[in-house]
Structure formats: C-alpha cells, structure tokens
C-alpha cells in the first residue's frame, strides 16, 4: 500500500483513539451509582490519572435522568410597591414637563397609591386631567381642592402581578441558559411561583444563588458634602464591636461624613433606621479580608437613583491590567444609559459614586472625569483570584440577563426522577440497540463485504458524535437522540449511494478498481449536496431555536460532519486495502 494510504490509516486510527479517550470520563460516569455520579469531585476521583478531566462528559437531559426541582416564589407585592415608587417619580417629571407649579408627589407604597398636593385648586384640576390621560392604568381615588389621590386600577394590578411573574420566568430562563445548564424546564406554577427543574445537578448552590439574585443595579452619589451630617450618629448607642468614625472623635480614616463600622449587619441596619437627613439614605458596604469575618460600614447616599442597570448592554469579567490582574466586572451602556451616565459623571467630578447591587454598596469610587460608555465594578478587595473570577463571571451573567422584577425566594427544593420514566428509558435503550443491530445486519447481508465496511464506518460515526458531545459537555435528551437517529440514517444513505454506484459501474463492465473510482467520484457530490443542505438547516435551527430544538440541531451538525468523514474517507481506505488483496478480481458489493 502506498504512503498516502498509510497516512490516511494513521489519521483514522488517531482520530478513533482520541474519540475513545474522550469518552473515558463518560464511561466512568455511567459506572458510578446514580446518586453520587453527578458530583464532579467524585467523578474526578474515579478517573485514572491519564484520563481527560471529569468536565468532559456527556450529560443526560431531564427526560433521561433526574435532577433538582426548585420552586421559587416571586414577591409580587414588593414588585407592586416598587412600581408605585417608580410611578411617583414618573408623575413628578410629567407634572414638571407640563409646568404644573408647586406640585408635590408622595408615594404610598403600602396602599399602592400616590398622594399629590398642589398649590391651588386650578393646578389640581389640570393635573387630574393630565394624569388621567397619561396614566391609563390609574384612576383618581379621591381628591379635595388642592390634593389628588391616584390609585392603580384593580385590573391593572392583577395584570402587573402576572407580568412580574412572566418577566421573572424570562429572566431566570436567560440566566440558566447563559450559565450553561443545558435544557432546564422552567414553568410558571400557580399565581406567583416558578418551578425550575435542572438535570443532574448535585450541588445547586451556585445555580440557586444565580437564580435568586435580584440583580438590581443602581448608581447613586455619595453625599460627602452634607454639612448638616456632622452629627449624624452622635447620639447612637454603639453595640460592642461597632465603632463610629468621624472627624469629631479624631478617627484615623475619618471622612467628611461620619460613618459606622461593625461586624453585625443587622445591628447596623437597625441603628441607621430613620437617621438619614431629608433627601438622603444610608446603605451598607461589605468588606471581606481573607481569614477574617466580614465587616460592614455605612455610606450616606443621595436618595436619587441616577442610573440603573436596565440600560446595560453587556457585562463581562475582565482582568485589571494595572492592579495586578485582579478580576473585576466591566460593563457597557446602551445609548440611553451612556447619556445618563455621562451626565452623572460630568456633574459630579471628584464626588464619590456608589455602585449598589440589591441595596448593598459594592464600591464607591471617586469620579475622576466624565465617563460615558463603559464602567467597572470592583468586587471585594481581598479575596483570592479564583473566588474573584467566579464572582465576576456570575455577576456579569446576572447583569447581562437583566434584573428580576421582584425578589424571589426559594420555596422548595427536592430531587426528581427522570421525566420519561426509568422503565421507559431502559426499554428505549434496548429497542434502540435492537434497531441499530438490525441495520448493521442488513447492510452486511445486502452489500456483503462493502456492507461490513459501511457498518464499521457507522460505528465510528456514532463514536465520534458521542466523543464530541462529551468534549463539549453537551446534554443528550430525547430530541438529541432524534437528531442522532437522523444522522445515522443520513450516514447509511451515503454508503448506500456509494455502493449502489459501484454496483452500477460493475454491471456496466468496469474493473473493480474502476468501479470504485467512479462510484466514489460520482457519489461524492451527491453526498456533499445532501449533507450540506441538512447542515444548513442544522445551523439555522441552532441559531434561532431554544432548548430541545437546539439540542437536536447540535447533534445533527456534529453527526453530519462526522459522517462526511466516516462514510467517505474511512470506507474508502478500507476498500482500497481490499482492492489490493481480496477484491482484485471481483468486488464484493
């Protein structure tokens, strides 16, 4: 056999060996008992040292194995209260635009109403009319000469509740998708809960954190100039461990405004209740040093939210080039957000800007200059690189998928069995094996020697598909199996095409070698066209489909590419060998 042939054989054997090597973790995974095998550490330990890492394994979808079942309750009441507060701000700006003088608006979140007081009866009347027009989901609950009470319509309250849950479902789905847990099942349950099923997860802590974070990002200005705040906490009873740092008591790190520091978050929250001056609020920042318990400190912030995370276009973890490669979160604004941010930074140079996530201050850097499109969030200063990196990645993910409209709490958490049913699955595997066996036998009977070669190619094809899926840690579910069946059908088809051609050519009187040449040559373009068309369909489906459709498309794409290799190259190599030795006079097809 010539050198080209040996080169091809070497390549094929190499690829086959690589495929088998990458399937080793999957093999061990299935050997482990079901209740421990999803723990990545357990799997890693079970692997021999020369095997690839445990993360390269084939996952089973929810329908084929069990997983975790979480139920989350959406705090719709809070969502409505927040809506009332936002609406109050909107009403304020609308009235300002319409030049209604002397209007004062106050949010009454507990009753879902907005109280408006005006300078005179005329303004009140005008305002009533304008607001009724503008805000169709509200009505005037009551009013006197100079005051108006606006309330939300019952219908719209109900709708807002449903919308909040729907929005939460969407956001959670986004986050889980991005996190890469393939093919979760997320659905609304009852009036205000969401049921989430994730296949295979052994330790859902990280996913729970991801799902449960409200991820409300706000930007406020730190009120460093408040002259009246010099006595902010002077009359406060300090519990043990909590200190007050102010210029008045000659604290080393004193700032213009006094602040409290201590290890007890709840205590600080209680102490600072109601202490903020008009137009300001107090928030806490967490400080963690390695090996020590976290401490918290207070910040006096201006209440007004200057910018929110709604307008974020992108967020990703990045490494701080100047600060020794520390991970942080880099984010980017859309044009509206960029404008807001520009205005904010331009008007507040040399002030501190507090970046607040879920009502906790993440950091409060000094604004050095006007910034528009990009920004960054530095995480806790003193953690190790890996923790910081994971934190940065998780935070970016959560910011990118959008904030939850309301806080969610985890109600239930249980393990669930496979949705397809254990019995069905074992039957399914058996019948699948039977089906493939039938095809293999048929090919061997019908095409004899070349049929056997085609069978070999088929086996290699299946191996390659599984290995690539294991390499990319993909998930196999019933739709994926459907894609797999289609791939095998197409692969068989390719070989049938080739063999039929060879038969034709032999009948036409060609020598075995000639028949093979013509067979492969002519069939190639047919196979190519057919495969590429299916491939295109696969790519489009993968791009625009979600969940199971995606799983199907992925298996299809991998399978077709593998088939182009196995059906043509691999079989040709075998046939060439046999041509020299066995088929010299007559080809067995």
């Amino acid at each position: 056999m010539d050198r080209a042939w040996w080169a091809k054989v070497l390549m094929i054997v190499g690829i086959a060996a690589l495929a088998i090597w990458y399937l080793i973790p999957t093999y061990f995974y299935f050997k482990l008992p079901p209740d421990v095998r999803n723990d990545p550490e357990v799997l890693q330990k079970a692997l021999p040292s020369w095997a690839p890492s445990a993360k390269h394994k084939l996952n089973l979808g929810l329908d084929l194995q069990g997983g975790i079942h979480l139920v989350m309750r959406v705090d719709v009441d809070k969502a409505l209260r927040t809506k009332t507060e936002t609406r109050t701000e909107q009403i304020k700006s609308t009235l300002k635009e319409k030049n209604i003088a002397g209007a004062e608006a106050k949010a009454l979140p507990d009753d879902l109403r907005v109280q408006l007081t005006f300078a005179n009866a005329d303004s009140a009347k005008q305002a009533e009319k304008i607001l009724s027009d503008y805000y169709q989901d509200m009505h005037v609950a009551s009013g006197s000469d100079t005051s108006v009470l606006m309330a939300f319509n019952d219908q719209d309250i109900k709708r807002a509740k449903t919308d909040a849950v729907d929005q939460a479902v969407k956001t959670i789905r986004n986050r889980v998708d991005q996190f890469g847990v393939a093919e979760p099942e997320i659905a609304k349950r009852g009036a205000d809960s969401i049921s989430i099923e994730l296949p295979g997860l052994k330790d859902p802590e990280r996913v729970k954190d991801l799902i449960g974070t409200t991820a409300q990002l706000q930007f406020k200005i730190v009120d460093d100039d408040n002259a009246g705040a010099a006595n902010l906490f002077s009359d406060v009873q300090l519990p043990p461990g909590t200190t007050l740092c102010a210029r008045s008591n000659h604290c080393a790190n004193a700032e213009n405004v006094p602040y409290l520091q201590g290890p007890d978050r709840k205590a600080l929250e209680q102490l600072t209740q109601g202490k903020a001056p008009e137009g300001d609020e107090i928030a806490l920042e967490k400080d963690e040093s390695p090996g020590q318990a976290p401490t918290y400190r207070t910040y006096l912030l201006k209440s007004k939210t200057e910018a929110t995370g709604e307008n974020l276009i992108d967020a990703h973890a990045a490494l701080d080039q100047t600060g020794g490669g520390r991970p942080y979160v880099s984010f980017e604004w859309n044009p509206v957000g960029a404008q807001d941010f520009e205005r904010l930074t331009e008007n507040n140079i040399r002030h501190r800007m507090a970046i607040i996530l879920d009502n906790a201050v993440m950091s409060a850097p000094v604004i050095q200059s006007k910034i528009s499109a990009h920004g960054q969030i530095t995480l806790g200063a003193n953690k190790d690189y890996n923790t910081l990196l994971t934190e940065a990645q998780d935070l970016s993910l959560v910011l990118k998928s959008g904030a939850l409209p309301a806080p969610v709490t985890i109600g239930e958490e249980r393990t669930v069995g496979a949705s397809l049913g254990e019995e069905l699955i074992s039957r399914g595997w058996k019948s699948c094996a039977l089906g493939i066996l039938l095809v293999v036998i048929f090919m061997a009977l019908y095409y004899k020697m070349t049929g056997v070669i085609a069978d070999l190619a088929l086996v290699l094809n299946a191996l390659l598909v599984l290995a690539v899926m294991a390499l990319f840690n993909s998930t196999l579910s019933l739709p994926g199996i459907a894609g797999f069946v289609l791939t095998l059908g197409i692969a068989v088809d390719a070989n049938v095409l080739i063999n039929e051609r060879i038969r034709e050519e032999t009948r036409a009187g060609r020598t075995p070698r000639g028949a093979v040449e013509q067979g492969y040559g002519r069939a190639f373009w047919t196979i190519f066209d057919a495969h590429v068309t299916s491939l295109i369909a696969g790519f489009v489906l993968r791009q625009y489909g979600t969940g199971p459709v995606r799983g199907f498309a992925t298996t299809l794409i991998i399978g077709i590419l593998a088939s182009l290799f196995t059906s043509i190259v691999v079989t040709r190599v075998c046939v060439d060998y046999l041509l020299k030795n066995v088929f010299a006079k007559k080809i067995s097809v």
């Binding site: 009753d111 009036a191 019995e423 039977l434 049938v496």
Partner: protein, 404 residues
C-alpha cells in the same frame, strides 16, 4: 443480495398529475382538520396541572402512571420526587377543566349566598383548571377577612367538593383575595391512589390523603418561544431554498421546499388524526423529517442533473423518470434501513418513545413519496412554464422562450 431488479423502468411520471392532486387534497384535508379539531397540545405547550402525591408504601412510577391513567387521564408525566423513603411523586397531566358547567353555577351561587354584600368580584376561568377567584370588600373597613370555613361549608352544601380555600390580603390593603380550588380532579385521582396505596376503604381522614397539592402549571414553551421556533424552521427552509437554487437551478428549488412543506403537513396530520399528544418530542420529529425529506429530494435532483447532461435530446419528463428509476433501489434501501432502526422502538416501547417512532415512520414514508411525486412534478411544471428546455417538455410551452 438484490431486492430491486437492477434496471427498473416504472413510469412514475405518468401518474404525476393524479399524485399531485391527491396530495393536495390530503394536505387540504389535514389543514382543515387542524383548524376544526386542532392538535392535542401537550403540557409543554398548553400547560396543565401538577400534583404532589405521597404514598405510605413503596410504589413504582409505572404503578402510579397506571393509576392516573385508570382515573381517565391520558399520558401523565410521572417523576419520583425527593428521596426514595418519601415515596413521593410529582405528576403532570394535561389541561382539563374538571368542573362541569353545573358545578360552576353551584359554586357561584354558594359564594354569592355566603358572602352577600361583601362580594366584590367573582371570576372563574375554565382554562385555568378548577380554581375560582373571589374578591371581597373586607367588610366596612376593608380589613375583615371572610370566613373561609363558612365559605367551604356553603360550597360543599351545594354539592361540590372543596380542596382548599386560600385567603390573602389585597396588596393595597382594601379587601381580600379568596382562591377556591374544588376537588374534581383530586377526588378521582385520590380514589385511584388510595387503591394503589392499599388504604382505600379506610376512613376519610385528611391526614391520610395521598395528594398533597394540586397546582396549575404554565407551559414550557410559551408563546414567545413557540414563535421563535416557528421562525427558526422558516429561516431553515429559506436557507435550503437558497442553497438548492445556487447548486442546481432555480426551477429545482421550489419543488424541494414544496415537498418539505407537504411532509410537515402530513406528519402534523398524523398527530391531528390520531390525536396523540403534540409536545416537544413531536417538534423534534418534525425537524428530523425536514432533514430527511430534503436529503432524499437532493439525491434525486442530483441524478436528474447528471442525466440532463447525459441524455441530451430526451424530453424532460423522460429524464426525470429515468433518474427516479435509477435511484429507486437506493431510495428504498435508505428508507428501509432507517425504518429498520425504528422497528425496535415500535415493538418494544410505549408512550412517548412509541409516538416518536410512529410519527417518524409516517415521516419517512411521506419523505420518500414526496421526492418522487411532489418535488419532481413541481420541477417539471416550472420547467414547462419558464424553462430553457421548454422545447423538451413536449407541451405547447411559451413561444417566447422556445425561440430564445
């Protein structure tokens, strides 16, 4: 071994007009049925009810499934829930309004008589299962809760079993929300479960109830995802059209796509006529058939293209006939091989996997058929109307192009 004699000369094209009209009729029939009868949308698309059942002895998921089916609910999804010692299961069934119209009226009058002037709003949506939503004014000050026990008694007095009465304060502080779930679904299933548990006949003690909770569960694939899925399939078809146009000729492309659409409709027809559950697995079947059909069609097209060059002078329909005959053995073999792989599933599986295999079989048969009797006739027709080779079609054709 040879199954098909190696030089068949069956005249397929002769019957093409009959075949096309026949297929058109079938497609129309399916589409009408789709509108009139509709698909049996599974829980994935339409949502349904979710129950949590706790047994006191060890039962298998299969037993539970059989029990649910015996109570009249088809094709439930049964999952083990929690650790094995809990003997608990999570069960999902399709959307069913268990409350009959008579029962609904009974509940309405019971609620109205029990609450009287305190009733602010009453709502019942049959699509949401068997939950009634009632709003009360909350008495004079808006803060007195309605008596849930009295409400329950009133409704049961009107002959409708009550699963639960849930009272919550309105978020704006004025009045209360009362959610009443009746026990239509629950009673039937509870009886079946008690039998399975071996506790039927024991006193009706609420503590021994197997069913702990019933909730309405929303669809997996909401409207948005469904629309995205449909767009994905349409984009895929357009891309295929473009590729075929580029590689073959513009007259070939429409035929392939029409064949594809035909196949999708026929498989949908299978689901409409058999009324088997249409869920995400069904969608995978449809996608598989799309891939299979186009693969088949391209193989035939390729042969046609080859013969167009080889058999100059012959008219177009003859070329196509020859091509189809030449690829016949390959076509039957591939369909046969794929069908073989599904036979195992058909004979030894049940439930969703059986549906999957059956629908695929239908799809493979129609995929093969469409390449011969849909794609080719359409191509011939386009050739007659617009083609360069219209002088080959033997029909009157277009005088302008004949001269060109």
């Amino acid at each position: 071994m040879e199954l098909i004699k190696h030089n068949p000369n069956i005249d397929f094209i002769k019957y093409r007009k009959v075949a096309v009209f026949g297929s058109l009729a079938v497609n129309l029939f399916v589409l009408i049925l789709l509108v009139v009868r509709g698909l049996n949308m599974g829980v994935d698309f339409a949502g349904g009810s979710e129950l949590e059942a706790h047994f006191t002895k060890s039962v298998t998921a299969t037993d539970v499934r059989k029990a649910v089916e015996s109570a009249g609910f088809k094709e439930p999804q049964v999952q083990e829930y929690g650790s094995p010692e809990e003997h608990a299961f999570l069960i999902r069934i399709g959307k069913l309004s268990i409350v009959t119209p008579e029962q609904a009226t009974q509940v309405e009058s019971a609620v109205k008589s029990a609450l009287g002037a305190d009733l602010a709003d009453y709502r019942f949506d049959p699509d949401q299962g068997d939950k009634f939503e009632v709003k009360t004014k909350g008495g004079a000050d808006g803060k007195s809760a309605p008596d849930d026990k009295a409400l329950r008694a009133a409704i049961e007095g009107h002959g409708v079993g009550v699963m639960g009465v849930n009272v919550t304060r309105e978020p704006n502080g004025q009045g209360f929300d009362v959610e009443i779930s009746t026990s239509g679904v629950a009673t039937k299933l509870e009886a079946a479960f008690q039998k399975l548990n071996g506790t039927d006949g024991a006193s009706a003690n609420p503590a021994n109830e197997v069913i702990r909770r019933i909730d309405y569960v929303g669809p997996q694939v909401g409207k948005e995802l469904r629309n995205r899925g449909i767009m994905a399939v349409i984009y895929a078809m357009v891309s295929i059209l473009l590729y075929v146009f580029f590689r073959f000729d513009f007259r070939f492309a429409p035929g392939g796509v029409v064949a594809l659409v035909h196949d999708v409709i026929v498989v949908l027809g299978y689901y409409v006529i058999s009324h088997r559950e249409f869920n995400l697995i069904a969608v995978s079947v449809l996608l598989t058939i799309v891939g299979y059909s186009i693969n088949d069609t391209i193989v035939v097209y390729d042969r046609i293209r080859e013969n167009m060059a080889k058999l100059r002078g012959k008219d177009f329909p003859t070329i196509i006939n020859v091509s189809i005959n030449e690829t016949l053995s390959r076509t039957i073999l591939t369909s046969g091989a794929t069908a073989l792989s599904l036979i195992g599933l058909l004979f030894f599986s049940v439930g969703s996997i059986w549906d999957f295999a059956m629908a695929m079989m239908v799809g493979i048969i129609t995929g093969t058929y469409s390449s011969i009797y849909i794609a080719s006739p359409v191509t011939i027709w386009l050739e007659e109307q617009f083609g360069r080779h219209s002088h080959l079609t033997g029909s009157s054709g277009n005088q302008k192009t004949a001269a060109a």
